[in-house]
Subunit: 285 residues, 2 copies
């Protein structure tokens, strides 16, 4: 496995791969790799001759109150996991090679940001995501890129961006990986206080509950949202950021559930922000 | 010469060209080709094995009061000129293949838009330019792209965008082509009323005058700007949009001229907006 540390070297490597006509997949990450990332890299390795993984904690997608500094970093463990999962290249640039004060062109997603994490983390979060993913696509130049359904809004916004700006990249969305008790894997999970596991699990329990209600015939979205919020609240010391039921295409709030919907939530447990989501459809849909 | 009419076909062609390892240049245009465009295509043909020219009047870079509908179109003449100048491919997509109501991701240049045409045409103009050029780069995937110094601010903003977003494209800026009497070539020139040639020429005369003043030792920018404005005003029925002296790097106003500067102006003559610019430096710089 090659480890590439500069934008210039990665650009040369990318051109050589395209010219080789080998199939070429890409998994963008912020490091702190876990089984969720590993599942993306494995799938990319199954589907492509060459797999590039980027490890870059993007400062522009964190806001001031956010957890950029606290974001876990462990490059040695990441390299071992990436190689084991089938990566051929890890692109791990220095921050100053990716961003500088003089850079100010931004890629701005639009309507899809006015919901869920776009509201709670601020519009700048997804501008930061779209800008860095555009940069990575232009540097790495893959045919396919793999994103996790865990960040459902991000995946949808990236798909829209690729469509709108005609990036020559196919986006593949891969399922959420969970621990046995249901907790969605996240790099942030290592920061959950040990004695707050019950609280952390309240989100996946709430989403599972909401999904069951919908499959059992509930159609009133505010009522299902209330039932989900109750599940979280009864867990005790949990701060709800949002719990919502939205359209899978527009992310707009759904009032009456008569088709596939996205149940999505964000909570804070012991100062750690956790997100999760599930798809649900009425019986027969 | 191939004429390609769909985004999908152009994408396939682009990948084949990259894989052929041939050198590959691109000249984006809005059609209504004149000797200025021809000079870009000729230079691209001299420097590359394959030259693609796009002809697409981008609706998103015109504002409501702007001249999108009046923008001249003549595809048959354009194809003949492009072929004669050495183009191998003309990409001429339908508007609905490039844009639709559902597309809303934008590429947003930042500080460089707060000057010159960014003020007079509105910030949306350069968002429209950057978004469509990003799309064209992603569809056509050239190694080099050729822009005219005539649109000096556009060229600078595109260079910044390519740098900031790491597009794998080298930007080449080519000199302004002028008629014998000094008028900078523009697709809009065909719309200048015949009896207003004198007025139209006032801008290049003013810039030439300002450049001479600077080369002769003038260092006070507001005084030079005034002298240039007088040259335009004395031509008679001309509306000045702006006449300015700015930094060639930041486009910020210069007060004291002690290095290379950009003299730039925009005027309206008979309802037609004309722009022009010249570089000037004090003697010895």
């Amino acid at each position: 496995m090659k480890v590439i540390r500069t934008v210039a070297d990665m650009g040369e490597e990318a051109l050589a791969i395209i010219r080789s006509s080998k199939s070429y997949g890409f998994v963008p990450t912020m490091g702190a790799l876990h089984e969720g990332h590993v599942s993306l890299i494995r799938r990319a390795a199954n589907e492509n001759d060459i797999v590039a993984v980027s490890i870059f904690v993007n400062p522009t997608q964190f806001n001031e109150n956010d957890d950029f500094e606290k974001y876990p970093r462990n490059i040695e463990a990441d390299l071992a996991l990436a190689e084991e999962a089938g990566a051929d290249i890890v692109f791990n640039p220095e921050p100053e090679d990716m961003f500088s004060d003089k850079r100010d062109t931004l890629v701005m997603p639009n309507k899809l940001t006015n919901h869920l994490c776009g509201l709670s983390r601020g519009k700048g979060h997804f501008i930061g995501v779209c800008t860095v993913v555009s940069k990575l696509f232009n540097i790495i130049r893959p045919e396919k890129a793999y994103f996790g359904q865990k960040d459902a809004q991000q995946a949808l916004i990236i798909q829209r961006m690729v469509h709108d700006l005609n990036f020559p990249v196919k986006i593949e969305i891969c399922p959420i990986i969970r621990e046995d008790d249901g907790l969605a894997l996240s790099s942030r999970n290592v920061r959950i206080p040990e004695n707050m596991r019950h609280e952390a699990l309240s989100l996946s329990r709430a989403l599972t509950h909401g999904k069951a209600l919908i499959e059992d015939g509930a159609t009133n979205a505010p009522e299902v949202i209330n039932a989900m919020c109750e599940k979280v609240i009864e867990a005790g010391d949990v701060e709800i950021d949002y719990i919502d039921i939205v359209s899978t295409e527009t992310l707009e709030d759904v009032a009456e559930i008569d088709d596939l919907v996205l149940l999505a939530g964000a909570i804070k447990v012991g100062g750690v922000r956790l997100i999760d989501n599930m798809l649900a459809a009425p019986a027969g849909k």
